[in-house]
């Protein structure tokens, strides 16, 4: 029975692999079509969000626009979420992913994460002040809202014993937090920056130290990381650090200055 099950699994995995067309050269394809398709967040203010007219704007869409300008092609933004962004890249639905993705060793095996990284952030919990939580250990047994597919959910559950209640997107998780389905929401610390000065969120705070501070990487298909497309993006990111483009965009979108960007900028000068 067990063996048969494994064989079925292998067959299914093989079918999936066969469905993928042979890796085309993305850079050639972009130039030929005149369109660059970038996967970006649409629910992550100010890094990628929808403005009142429905267009996706923010720190990362601006970066995507810069890439398109360098290639003299049109930009098409494709909204992605944490649980589908890597699959979209593998399937060729997007040419490039700039979607607040943390650079982790596991992910490097699945997608081509371009070096150097372009940003860095940590994980924090946006907590209701009344819960009076002062340390991560106090989260034990408490319900914490989160996003489905986030890599740190397991860490917070396993290390600190929190009871993770995960939703599809940030809007659902925030609504659940406001309705008292959980005492706090675990997410990237950069995301809550916008909330701390918002009167709507006056009853909430971010009292804990950020954990797991990790760099953010943009990604291309794994097999193209060392090809022309991966190398082009690597040179682009280096240029962003050197010219201070990233720091300028950080200011434009009112993101508090990140120590990581300053360090990278100083090193590149």
């Amino acid at each position: 029975m067990l063996r048969r099950f494994v064989v079925a699994g292998l067959a299914a995995a093989g079918l999936m692999a066969a469905a993928n067309p042979a890796a085309a050269q993305t850079l050639d394809k972009i130039k030929k079509d005149g369109v660059l398709v970038v996967g970006s967040k649409a629910d992550y203010k100010p890094f990628g969000f929808r403005n009142p007219s429905g267009a996706i704007v923010g720190f990362e869409p601006d970066l995507a626009q810069d890439v398109a300008d360098r290639l003299h092609v049109k930009l098409q933004l494709e909204p992605v979420v944490a649980s589908n962004r890597m699959q979209f890249l593998q399937q060729g639905k997007i040419d490039l992913m700039i979607a607040t993705m943390n650079d982790t060793p596991d992910r490097r095996k699945v997608v081509g994460i371009v070096q150097p990284d372009y940003y860095a952030s940590g994980v924090n919990v946006f907590l209701v002040k009344k819960a009076a939580v002062k340390s991560w250990e106090q989260l034990k047994g408490q319900k914490i809202c989160a996003i489905q597919g986030a890599w740190y959910n397991k860490d917070i559950a396993e290390k600190y014993g929190a009871d993770i209640v995960a939703f599809k997107g940030t809007a659902e998780a925030e609504t659940a937090l406001q309705q008292g389905n959980c005492i706090g929401m675990a997410y990237d610390d950069t995301y809550f920056v916008d909330h701390l000065n918002d009167p709507k969120w006056a009853a909430y705070a971010m009292p804990l130290e950020s954990i797991d501070v990790v760099p953010w990487g943009l990604a291309v298909k794994l097999e193209e990381l060392n090809g022309p497309w991966g190398q082009f993006m690597s040179a682009t990111v280096k240029d962003w650090h050197k010219t201070g483009k990233l720091i300028a965009l950080e200011k434009k979108w009112k993101i508090p200055p990140s120590p990581y960007l300053k360090k990278m900028h100083d090193e590149a000068k």
Binding site: A8, G9, S83, M86, Q87, D106, Q148, G149, I164, T175
Partner: protein, 250 residues
């Protein structure tokens, strides 16, 4: 207690030698949460199956009422739950209705009265129940009028005729259609993941995000749902045969 360590080790070796990564067997944390997800799914399925059949039986009875109000209410219920997507219903229950139903706990925090699991049970039971009402109604209408009149002539009240004469016959006619709807219900329980009920799809989604073993977990899910639906179909098939009245319907 049987020592399962060698089995878990076999799956660890399977990963090392073939790359097939089934953490739900060899990683204690993943194993515990997947088992928990499986049991949550099972609990959700069983409660909803029973509740939806009960709703169907009661609803079909109310639909045949001589009073206009119960008939009208049942009809409104069916139209509402049959004609809206179940995912939308769940979101509506959890986020819209849930926001009005809260209480204050010892810490002074607002907490909801109805949990995500309870909303999933309520939503899915009402959804499948709406279809069951129509399925049972079809069965009831297929019971020959003469049989009902005979029961009335023998002095049965409306309720007693329903319970002892109409329903047993109608139930036999309804079983194949009921089968279909219950299979559908089993599969629909997966949408509870949208309101963070830690059922199997929810847990599998978190595991494949952590371990990046999407194809493996997809296969695990398919095999388990095939098996669960298989069990239901088998049981319902046996029941259908056991209830068969020779010469009456197919």
């Amino acid at each position: 207690m049987v020592d399962l360590a060698p089995v878990w080790d076999w799956f660890r070796r399977l990963h090392e030698t073939t790359g097939i990564n089934l953490t739900i067997f060899y990683d204690a944390f993943d194993r515990a949460r997947f088992l928990n997800g499986f049991l949550t799914s099972l609990r959700l399925m069983i409660i909803c199956l029973i509740a939806s059949v009960v709703i169907g039986v009661i609803g079909a009875w109310l639909q045949g009422s001589r009073l206009a109000l119960p008939r009208w209410l049942t009809q409104a219920y069916i139209q509402f739950f049959r004609n809206t997507p179940p995912l939308v219903q769940l979101y509506f229950f959890y986020f819209a209705l849930g926001s009005y139903l809260h209480t204050t706990n010892a810490m002074g925090l607002q907490v909801p009265i109805v949990s995500g699991f309870a909303w999933a049970v309520i939503g899915l039971s009402l959804y499948a129940g709406a279809f069951n009402v129509e399925i049972f109604r079809a069965g009831i209408e297929a019971v020959p009028k003469e049989t009902v009149e005979a029961a009335e002539a023998l002095g049965y009240s409306r309720l007693r005729a329903y319970v002892y004469v109409i329903l047993p016959l109608a139930f036999r006619i309804s079983l194949p259609a009921l089968n279909n709807n219950l299979v559908n219900l089993i599969k629909t329980t997966t949408i509870a993941y949208a309101i963070a009920v830690p059922e199997m799809l929810y847990v599998a989604n978190q595991i494949w995000s952590d371990e990046l073993n999407v194809p493996e977990m997809m296969n695990v899910l398919l095999v388990i749902y095939l098996a669960l639906v298989g069990v239901l179909v088998f049981v319902m098939g046996r029941w259908e045969r056991a209830l068969r009245v020779p010469g009456y319907t197919s």
